[in-house]
């Protein structure tokens, strides 16, 4: 059981929870994720760790409300407990001094990006971060991102904040302006697909952090499998970060839809209860 000690609402559907998990708080590194389960009959879902406080023994989780489990999780309050939490899982982000790093975040992808840019900044990189979302309300963690970025570019689809346009436009403006040595992209699969296509055009080595359907999260089931460079990989143990230019995003998008009908039905049943 892991107690929730803080809760913050970023926007209508995006929440931050600070959760007691002393062992995870100590051992986690940038890029790691946890699996959580709520209640005896709950499902196991992966959530990337957005930060931690080893002294207090807590980790930060940022959750976007979409389906049954994320609704259940975000309806918990301070003092409530998450039934099961296990981690840190996956491989940590490879950090070194690349030079100039372009970090592109789509929506809640900003949360898992935060510890990565922190580590990159500390390793001596120049970090330029693009925060992109549909509108102003969905731009999250801006202040924290600014702490670890040399420059922050904000893009919104509707122009309600920052520059109007997609994440790829913000990325391309920077790439055309100065030399970029490395790029990292985190966000919805479709966003990562196009962000990867953008950097590929300019031959910039790029990592994408993937969030797929998982069950155990320790390599046991293969639900999270994707194709990278034509080879099957497991996101949970081989990832979650992969060479974005080698990832078959179309297959990943397809596999993310595996339970679409079941998810819609379950969500309707949940909301009617």
């Amino acid at each position: 059981m892991n107690k929730i000690v803080e809760k913050e609402q970023f926007s209508e559907n995006v929440f931050k929870l600070v959760v007691e998990a002393p062992d995870v708080a100590v051992s986690r590194k940038a890029g790691h994720f946890v699996i959580i389960k709520i209640g005896e009959k709950g499902e196991r879902i992966p959530l990337t760790i957005a930060g931690s406080n080893p002294d207090k023994g807590t980790i930060d989780l940022v959750i976007q409300r979409v389906g049954v489990t994320s609704h259940k999780l975000t309806s918990l309050n301070v003092g409530d407990e998450i039934t099961d939490l296990v981690g840190p899982l996956g491989k940590a982000t490879h950090i070194e001094k690349f030079g100039t790093v372009l970090a592109a975040c789509g929506g809640v992808g900003t949360a898992p990006m935060l510890p990565i840019i922190e580590a990159l900044k500390k390793a001596g990189n120049k970090v330029i971060t693009v925060l992109a979302a549909r509108n102003k309300e969905l731009i999250i963690l801006e202040d924290q991102v600014r702490q670890f970025s040399d420059e922050v570019v904000i893009m919104t689809d509707d122009g309600s904040y920052g520059t109007k346009g997609l994440v790829t436009k913000g990325m391309e403006d920077i790439i055309n302006r100065e030399k970029v040595d490395k790029s990292i992209v985190i966000g919805p699969a479709i966003m990562m697909k196009f962000a990867a296509l953008t950097t590929k055009k300019y031959n910039i080595p790029t990592e994408a952090s993937l969030n797929t359907i998982m069950v155990d999260g320790t390599g046991m089931c293969g639900a999270c499998r994707i194709s990278v460079g034509g080879k099957t990989k497991f996101v949970c143990v081989d990832g979650p970060e992969f060479d974005a230019h080698q990832v078959d995003f179309d297959e990943m998008l397809m596999r993310l839809g595996a339970y679409k009908d079941e998810e819609v039905r379950a969500f309707e049943a949940y909301m009617n209860n």
Binding site: K41, L89, G222, R225, T232, E251, M254, R255, A258
Partner: protein, 493 residues
């Protein structure tokens, strides 16, 4: 073990044994027919998740026990990986001392109720039975009797919690909570150690929980044994991935003196054929975990599972049988086994194959998938099968399947479960410096099941690469003995 023959001799000479032997003539014993296990009707059971085998009634068990002639040289014992003293427990059943029979089982086997259900007896004890090797008749139903005695004890409410030695305060840990670790933990706690079992999942039991379905091994049977271990003092820690949540080094710093790695063969194998990542194609691990561990077939559980109408399961082992029979129970019209060799070469327990056949499972032997075809949404729609024929025996001694060129044909499927084996879980080998592994990823151990790192022992599938519950348990016990010796020698120094 050099005195084991003498031990058997003296035990056999005991008055009660001699008396019961004399009470019924050998001819009368051997003229009895082997008991049939009462089971749920096939057409009823293939729609529910209740256990297929119902167990023997007391009188029937005693009658089956009478078939055992209590041989002077009990060859059956040699067929058992943990050398259960089979004639003794069977004779205890014959005289009606069922709790006594259970006690004999527990001398060498931590989980008799589990083994009575899932051991491949036809390849072990029953293969070495006097009836099999000398009379060419069906063997004594040793497995049924083992299950009977263990169930009797469990249901009697008189389960004896084994005595444990005075706590010695020495901390030891296992990684994983499957059969190898459970057997190891029982022996270690009995010797007085401070035992912690670390499990990555949210349930204790490993493959006994996520893998083997309820209709073959009810969770309540496993939980009962885990409760007993807890009563003996074993500590279970769930949601803890050794190597991730904390490393072996972290645990050493917390005072753990030795480790037993029983992390299993957790990595599913795929065939790497075109279309295998289509929606609706699962590893058997994923399919069974969703259904068994996550309760996906129940409306009130959040985890979903695809319910197929035409389900193909690829493979011929127990996991394949478990998967295909699960699919039938979840409502498949057509549930099929696709296996590249013939029925004779299938590695599954004989009973599982018979049960599957009774439950209207189709067997497509000498067939092998070569490609999957998906619809425009990426959902599997067809499997392309290639016919096979058998050639010369291969390294496993089984005749090698050879593809017949040009024999490809398609069948419609909306769900596929790939059950072609598993590889060792790489988590521990990858996070412990100096731990020697084979090219298959299994941990290298010596005869004492000690690895290249002296305080780390290992057993079960992480060493064997894919074996049985009983072999894993045998390893757990052996490692416990060796670990005890290692720790005691270490303290002396």
């Amino acid at each position: 073990m050099e005195n084991i023959t003498d031990y058997y001799k003296s035990e056999r000479a005991q008055e009660w044994r001699a008396e019961i032997r004399k009470s019924v003539k050998v001819k009368e014993r051997t003229s009895k027919e082997r008991t049939k296990m009462p089971e749920q009707e096939p057409t009823v059971r293939n729609k529910n998740s209740l256990e297929v085998n119902l167990g023997l009634a007391e009188k029937i068990a005693q009658s089956e026990a009478q078939r055992c002639i209590d041989c002077p040289d009990p060859t059956c014992v040699k067929g058992c990986p943990v050398n259960i003293y089979i004639p003794k427990f069977i004779k205890k059943i014959e005289i009606g001392d069922f709790l006594g029979a259970a006690a004999v089982l527990k001398d060498t086997n931590t989980l008799p109720a589990v083994c009575g259900r899932v051991c491949p007896q036809e390849k072990q004890c029953e293969a070495q039975c006097f009836y099999t090797i000398k009379l060419n008749q069906p063997p004594v139903a040793i497995g049924y009797l083992e299950r009977f005695a263990a169930d009797y004890e469990r249901n009697s409410g008189k389960t004896a919690i084994p005595e444990v030695a005075k706590p010695n305060g020495i901390k030891v840990a296992s990684i994983g909570s499957g059969p190898a670790s459970l057997a190891w933990s029982a022996d270690m706690v009995k010797m007085g150690y401070d035992v912690t079992v670390f499990e990555a999942l949210h349930e204790i039991g490993g493959v006994l929980k996520y893998g083997i379905p309820e209709f073959r091994l009810p969770n309540s049977v496993v939980d009962f044994e885990i409760d007993n271990l807890e009563k003996m003092g074993v500590k279970f820690v769930k949601n803890f991935v050794v190597g991730k949540t904390a490393t072996i080094d972290d645990l050493r710093a917390k005072g753990f003196k030795a480790f037993f790695v029983g992390s299993g063969a957790g990595l599913p194998r795929f065939m790497n054929i075109p279309g295998e990542n289509s929606i609706g194609i699962f590893s058997s691990n994923e399919y069974l975990t969703r259904v068994n561990l996550m309760g996906a077939a129940h409306e009130d559980h959040d985890t979903p599972v695809i319910i197929g109408k035409n389900v193909a399961v690829v493979g011929g082992g127990n996991t394949a049988m478990d998967s295909v029979r699960t699919a039938k129970r979840l409502g498949a019209d057509r549930a099929m086994i696709i296996y590249r060799r013939s029925r004779e070469e299938m590695p599954a327990r004989l009973e599982e194959v018979h049960h599957a056949l009774d439950e209207e499972i189709e067997f497509l032997n000498l067939n092998n998938p070569v490609e999957y075809i998906a619809d425009d949404k990426g959902r599997v729609q067809k499997v392309v099968l290639q016919k096979m024929e058998l050639g010369e025996p291969d390294a496993s001694g089984r005749r090698r399947p050879i593809p017949i060129e040009g024999s490809e044909y398609e069948i419609e499927v909306d769900e596929v479960v790939v059950a072609v084996g598993v590889s060792p879980n790489p988590l521990i080998p990858a996070t412990v410096a100096g731990l020697e592994t084979t090219k298959w990823g299994t941990i290298v151990v010596n005869d004492d099941l000690q690895s290249s790192v002296e305080d780390i022992f290992a057993g079960g599938d992480i060493v064997r690469g894919g074996a049985t519950v009983i072999l894993a348990m045998g390893d757990g016990r052996k490692a416990a003995g060796a670990m005890d010796k290692y720790i005691k020698e270490k303290i002396k120094k």
